[in-house]
Each structure stands twice: as structure tokens, then as C-alpha cells.
Amino acid sequence: MINLTLIFIAAAITHNFVLTYFLGICPFIGVSKRIEQAVGMGLATTFVMTLAACVTWVIYHFILIRFGLPFLQYVSFIIVIASLVQIVEMFIRKTSPALYRALGIYLPLITTNCAILGLVLFMVLREYTFLEGVVFGVGAGCGFTLALVIMAGIREELECCDIPKPLQGAGITLIIAGILALSFMGFGGLISR
């Protein structure tokens, strides 16, 4: 139990996916202009991350390892993620049109979100068990949502600021991300490993 809690805290805060592993930077810069957008994107990503962790764990251990095919892992992981996103999109469209309208536009973007593939690769690299993998997926998703929402909040305020012209857009966002990463370093003492 303690182990699972540690994995969750590490993935969400101290080793935040966006701010320490630089995974999912594209949506972090692209979709962080409004808080509502950021929440939608974050929830959709968390959902897909958890599912992807479950499915790829099963495929990796019961198909790729058993039949000695680990060299196919990148190809199979990316296919699993792409089809998972597609299935989730179709499922949500059928069952809950309201949720689909809220998440719809973000779902296709998630396929190329490196945070999902990164999560799966880290899970395989660190040899997590099934339960650990799922907790890792939820934690990483929460961390991603947290970083995205904080960034969106700051950027809403930034609109009223007088930013030097060359730094407008990506430049200032990266510098803010740097300062955020600095402040997240303060959480580093929470777990020692």
C-alpha cells in the first residue's frame, strides 16, 4: 500500500511528467490558454493513460514476452494507444454526447501526446506489476492535469501583461514552465529514492 502511494505521489508531484520528464509539452503549450480547456484535456488524458497502462501491461506480459517478441514493442504500443483513443472516442460519442462535446476535440490529439507512450515505456522499463502500473497511470494523469491547469491559470492572467514582443507566445510560456519546474523541485524532499 505504501509502495502504491509513493508511486502515485512520485508520478503526480515530485516527478511530474510535464515538468521533470518533459512529456506532453505540446498540449502543455498548445491547449493551456483557458482553464476549462485545460481541465477537459487533463481529464481526457488521465482517462486514456489509465486505460493504456492496463491494456499495454497485459499485451506486453502475455503476448510480447511470452512469444519472445519484445522488438515489436514500440510498434504494438503505438497501435494500441491509437486504437484505444479511437475506441474511447466512439464509446463516449454513443453513450454520453455531453461528455463527447466537452472532450471530443481533445481526444484525437491524445494519440500523438508523448506522455501516453512515455508512461507505457516507463512502466515497462521499471517493471511495475499490474496494480502499480494502473496507479502510475492515474498519478501521471493527475500530475499532467495539475500542471496544465496551473499553466492555464497563469496564462489567463498574462493576457493583461505587457510582454516583450519576441517573447510572446512560446517564449514566455517556456520561461514560466521553467519557473514552475523550479517551484515543483521544492516538493523533492517528499520522497527520497
Partner: protein
Amino acid sequence: MDSLKCASCGKELCKGLWRENPIFFQVLGMCPTLAVTTKALFGFSMGMATTFVLISSSLVISCIRKLIPPQVRIATFTVIIATFVTCADYFLKANFYTISKELGPYVPLIVVNCIILGRQEAFVSKHGVAKSLLDALGMGIGFSAVLVLLGSIRELFGFGTIFYYKILGEGFENWVIMALPAGAFITLGFLVGLFNWINIRLRQRRNSA
């Protein structure tokens, strides 16, 4: 006619270097850019691996682009890219084990590097083999150049060396933050700012002239 053709080929090659630089102008492929540039050498290896994947997948896709049904083109592109990434990863593991270990999961993450998929979608699927190769080469060089630049700056301040060659003397106290994630974000932010500033100045000069 021939000189015209040459000029347009040169344009395809050069636009990736500055005008449409994948990192500064298009702000794509941020994840490997920031993650592996703690040392110039790692940035260089990452740049070369990405260039290899970009060129070989552009070659294959520009050859078979007319056979791919448009509905499944993204999935097809991704599978082709993933195949070449596996090649690059196994090559690095076999020949440069220490570098491959340092780069870790960021080599397989080339699969989801938006630069590669973006180029296939925006350029290769509409152009022939020769132009696609030149475009891929230009984009690859532009990407690698930024990685080496960012890696050199971070290595210089973080460790006092560039490509492990000692630049700053004994008295230099390592600027630890440059080797950490925060340093990557801030340095790249200012580099993007510098790129935009130079472009604005160039445009002003052209307009006044």
C-alpha cells in the same frame, strides 16, 4: 529550367535551417529537445537519430503515398515511423550503449515526435521523392543544430565543458540549475525569444530598405 529547379530544391533544403526551423518557428518536438540536452553529445545523438528516422520514413512514405488510403494514412505513417525508430534504437543499443542508456526512453519516444508525423502529413504526402528527401534533410539538420546549441549552452554552464572539452577554468562553480529541467525550459524560452527578435529586426531592415 534546370537552374530554376535547383533553386527550388535549395529552398526546400534551407527552409528547415532557419525560416521554418522545426523548433523555433513551428515549436514542435519539444519533448526530446528539452529532455536530452543536458550535454551537447546527447543532443547531437538525438538529432542524428531523429534525422535518420525522418529521412527514411520520408523516403518510404513518398514512394508509397499514392497507395495509402487517406482514411488510415495517420496510422500507416505511425507504423512506418515506429519501425524505423526500432531500427535506430537497436543500432544505438548495439554500438553506443552508454549514450543509449543516457537517452533512455526518449529514443522510442521519437515515434510520437510531432516533427516527423507533421512533416509526413504536411509535406511528404503531397510531394515527390526528391523534394521530400531534401525537406527531411533540412528539417533534420535544423532540429539537430538547435539540439546541439541548447546542449552546448546547458553543458557549458552546468558542467563547464562542451562535448566533454573543458572550457571554463578551475574557478568555475557549476551552475546546477542548467542541468536540471528548469534550466532547459528557461534557456529554450530565451532562445525562442532571441530567434523572434532577430526575425523582427530583419523584417524591419527589409521594410526600411
